[in-house]
């Protein structure tokens, strides 16, 4: 038992992480606006990040921290590309409703 876990138990962090991830999934599934969907994805990523740093702290292992950096870098790149795609979609179709973007349908 280390000092950290005496103040806030590990499970709380994990529960918060799961809650963030579930909120992200819910937003992704139920929201119509493309930007909101996009933000939901970021929320999921952050939920995962939280569990990474939690375990890194628990095990005194630096790998989890490094993973978070990678996730953040990829998320930043993804945000840039994703926003560009959103702008392109809006220019082409004048809407951001996810249900109406179905050109990939067979």
């Amino acid at each position: 038992m280390n000092a950290f876990s005496r103040e806030v138990p590990l499970a709380w962090y994990l529960l918060l992480s799961a809650a963030l991830f579930t909120l992200g999934i819910a937003g992704f599934l139920f929201k119509r606006n493309l930007i909101t969907v996009f933000m939901s994805i970021e929320l999921m990523l952050n939920g995962v990040n939280l569990s990474f740093v939690t375990f890194a702290q628990q095990w005194h292992a630096v790998k989890g921290q490094i993973f978070v950096f990678f996730v953040m870098v990829v998320a930043a790149a993804e945000a840039a590309v994703g926003l560009a795609i959103i702008i392109a979609v809006f220019r082409a179709r004048a809407t951001l409703a996810v249900d109406r973007i179905d050109l990939m349908k067979l």
Binding site: P9, L10, A11, L14, I25, F28, L29, V37, V98, D99, I101, D102, L103, M104, K105, L106
Partner: protein, 650 residues
């Protein structure tokens, strides 16, 4: 003497020529194509010559031959099978290399004039260089597998060049026929190689010879089987009975190709192979006598067909088969050096005759029918002169080259006694026929009255004349070295001459007999074709059955067609219609299931992003459930779950 002879250059130079002309030839100007095409064989010839002169510097019999060059990376190392990519230069391969690259170069030069107006000029020369590459690999091979690589390669080059004018159905068919008939021979070669591996554990010629030398009592048995398999391969490549049928059809190719591949070099590969593996044959008297009988039978058989052919190239083609029969006969009586001697002189005079025939065809504007020629000595005096030399050489008149080599083979056959006497007599009759049909060709093409107008626009360029003249000189003087010295030179590679001296008188008597039949053949030809050309038709009318049999080449093609080709075709059709249908039916059934499943599953592909996401989440949830829940078949919970539950309870 430890010099590096750079043997690898010999095949690689023509290969470079093939690549250059084959890949870039269409974009290069003609003079560049010609330069590349001629430099490649010339350079290879110079490397060979350099090696030969280097050896001649010392005493050739004591020089450090065989000289072996092995690819340092190794080649095939699988389990217990170890085959190196090795080249070997000994007296045998040296003679063969000189012939292949020397005559090959002359024919390249000739081709420059002959193929001048051809559209596929660069393609032609790239194939010709490719042929030289494979042929030198075949000759230099230090083991049976490397030889097989060259063996198949020359078959490919032969196929490509026979079908050079592939727009012509007959040429394309002739190429296929050559290739397929050769496959039968290759089958024998392959089985022979497998048996060699099984019984000797090696394919290297030197190791096989060493193992046999260590067991002098090992005779017959499996050695006979191996030798007969190799003989089948040799009979395919060298157009012997019963696989000779492809060679006459191969005349569809351009005439220089017939000279190079189907007279001087490639078709002699079978003889070379037997000489190369002669230790096996030496340990199997039965296989050796089969070789002799096949050779003698082929010599006589092909010579009779040649008597009545009217196409100038076909006469020469059957004559080639017949002369190859002589070489097999020589191998069969263990006179390998005599066979190689005849191989060399034959390369000179048969290349000469083919090239001269090419000049005649060129001068006649593509006409190949002897009946439409005549009186050409006035139009083509130089060609007439060199053809006369070639005819005298092949008919066996002293002092021309053919006399010495043919005499050596017949003498060796006679000295073997027993069946050898019969074979000698067959050879003598063949010599009579040879002399007759060659003088028949000579009279019909060059003497008498012209039977049609030659094409006046076709002169003979110097590039065609010079090779003819050089070959004519070689056809005169090529035999002067004599079998004694030639045999002594080859002895380290082919074993000493088995023939004991039979006394000067006998040898002289046999020579007189050979010259006698040659003169007889000339006289008969003169009697028929010089004095009264209509006598030939009278003679044909007097013996209608015999004439028809010969003119139709004993109906061998027809017999093969109805007894082998048609049944095979029938079986193939049956397989296509029956078994093939079943197999493809099964394949289609499987494809149909996949298609049906796809039709159902494609509904999933709604195009709705959120439905994809939902399925993704559902899938992830399913995987988690599968891993986390205590299913009855999991004895213990995964450790991660245990850990989580422990910390939560804590």
């Amino acid at each position: 003497m430890n010099v590096n002879l750079h043997l690898w250059l010999i095949p690689l130079l023509p290969f470079a020529g093939f690549l250059l002309n084959g890949l870039l030839g269409r974009r290069l100007p003609k003079w560049a194509v010609t330069t590349v095409a001629l430099l490649a064989p010339l350079a290879a010839f110079c490397v060979v010559l350099n090696a030969a002169l280097g050896l001649a510097g010392g005493n050739p019999s004591t020089a450090s031959l065989p000289y072996i060059e092995t690819c340092p990376m190794g080649w095939i190392n699988v389990g217990t099978l170890h085959v190196d990519f090795s080249f070997v230069l000994d007296q045998l391969s040296l003679v063969m290399l000189l012939v292949v690259t020397g005559v090959g170069f002359l024919i390249h030069v000739y081709s420059v004039g002959y193929m001048h107006d051809e559209k596929g000029y660069a393609r032609y020369f790239s194939y010709l260089n490719l042929f030289l590459f494979f042929m030198t690999v075949l000759v230099l091979a230090g083991n049976a597998l490397v030889m097989f690589v060259g063996w198949e390669g020359v078959g490919l080059a032969s196929y490509l060049l026979i079908g050079f004018w592939f727009q012509k159905t007959s040429a394309a068919d002739a190429g296929k026929k050559a290739f397929i008939v050769n496959r039968i021979g290759d089958f024998g070669f392959l089985i022979g190689m497998f048996l060699l591996l099984a019984n000797f554990g090696t394919l290297a010629f030197s190791q096989i010879a060493a193992k046999l030398a260590a067991n002098p009592g090992w005779q017959g048995g499996v050695l006979t089987v191996i030798a007969l398999c190799l003989l089948l391969g040799a009979a395919g490549k060298s157009a012997q009975l019963p696989l000779y049928i492809w060679l006459p059809d191969a005349m569809e190719g351009p005439t220089p190709v017939s000279a190079l591949i189907h007279a001087a070099t490639m078709v002699t590969a079978g003889v070379y192979m037997i000489a190369r593996t002669h230790v096996l044959f030496d340990h199997s008297p039965f296989a050796l006598s089969v070789v002799a009988i096949v050779g003698a039978a082929t010599a006589l058989f092909a010579a009779t067909i040649a008597l009545v052919q009217n196409d100038i190239k076909r006469v020469l083609a059957y004559s080639t088969i017949s002369q190859l029969g002589y070489m097999f006969l020589g191998c069969g009586v263990a006179a390998y050096s005599a066979a190689i001697f005849h191989l060399m002189t034959h390369a000179f005079f048969k290349a000469l005759l083919f090239l001269a025939a090419g000049t005649v065809i060129h001068g006649m504007g593509g006409e190949q029918d002897l009946r439409k020629m005549g009186g050409l000595w006035k139009k083509l005096p130089a060609t007439f002169a060199v053809t006369t030399v070639g005819v005298l050489a092949i008919a066996g008149f002293p002092p021309f080259a053919g006399f010495f080599s043919k005499d050596a083979i017949l003498y060796a056959a006679f000295m073997q006694g027993g069946v050898g006497r019969v074979l000698w007599f067959v050879g003598l009759v063949t010599a009579l026929l040879t002399s007759f049909y060659m003088f028949r060709l000579w009279y019909m093409a060059f003497l008498g009255e012209p039977r049609s107008e030659p094409n006046p626009h076709h002169g003979t360029p110097w590039s065609m004349l010079v090779p003819l003249e050089i070959l004519a000189l070689l056809s005169v003087g090529g035999g002067w070295i004599g079998i004694e010295r030639f045999g002594a030179f080859l002895a380290p590679a082919t074993g000493p001459r088995a023939v004991e001296a039979g006394g000067g008188n006998l040898e002289l008597g046999l020579s007189f007999a050979a010259v006698g039949v040659a003169i007889m053949g000339w006289l008969i030809a003169a009697l028929i074709y010089q004095q009264k050309p209509e006598r030939a038709t009278e003679l044909a009318g007097a013996l209608p059955t015999g004439y028809k049999l010969l003119a139709n080449k004993y109906y061998v093609d027809e017999i093969y067609n109805s007894f082998i080709v048609k049944p095979l075709l029938g079986i193939s059709r049956y397989l296509l219609g029956g078994i093939d249908l079943l197999l493809s039916g099964i394949a289609w059934l499987i494809a149909g299931i996949a298609l049906f499943a796809g039709m159902i599953l494609q509904r999933w592909q709604s195009g709705n992003l959120r439905s994809y996401a939902a399925w993704l989440a559902a899938g992830a949830a399913a995987v988690l459930l599968f891993m986390l829940l205590p299913w009855p078949w999991t004895s213990a919970w995964p450790t991660s779950v245990e850990f989580i539950l422990k910390t939560v309870r804590h």
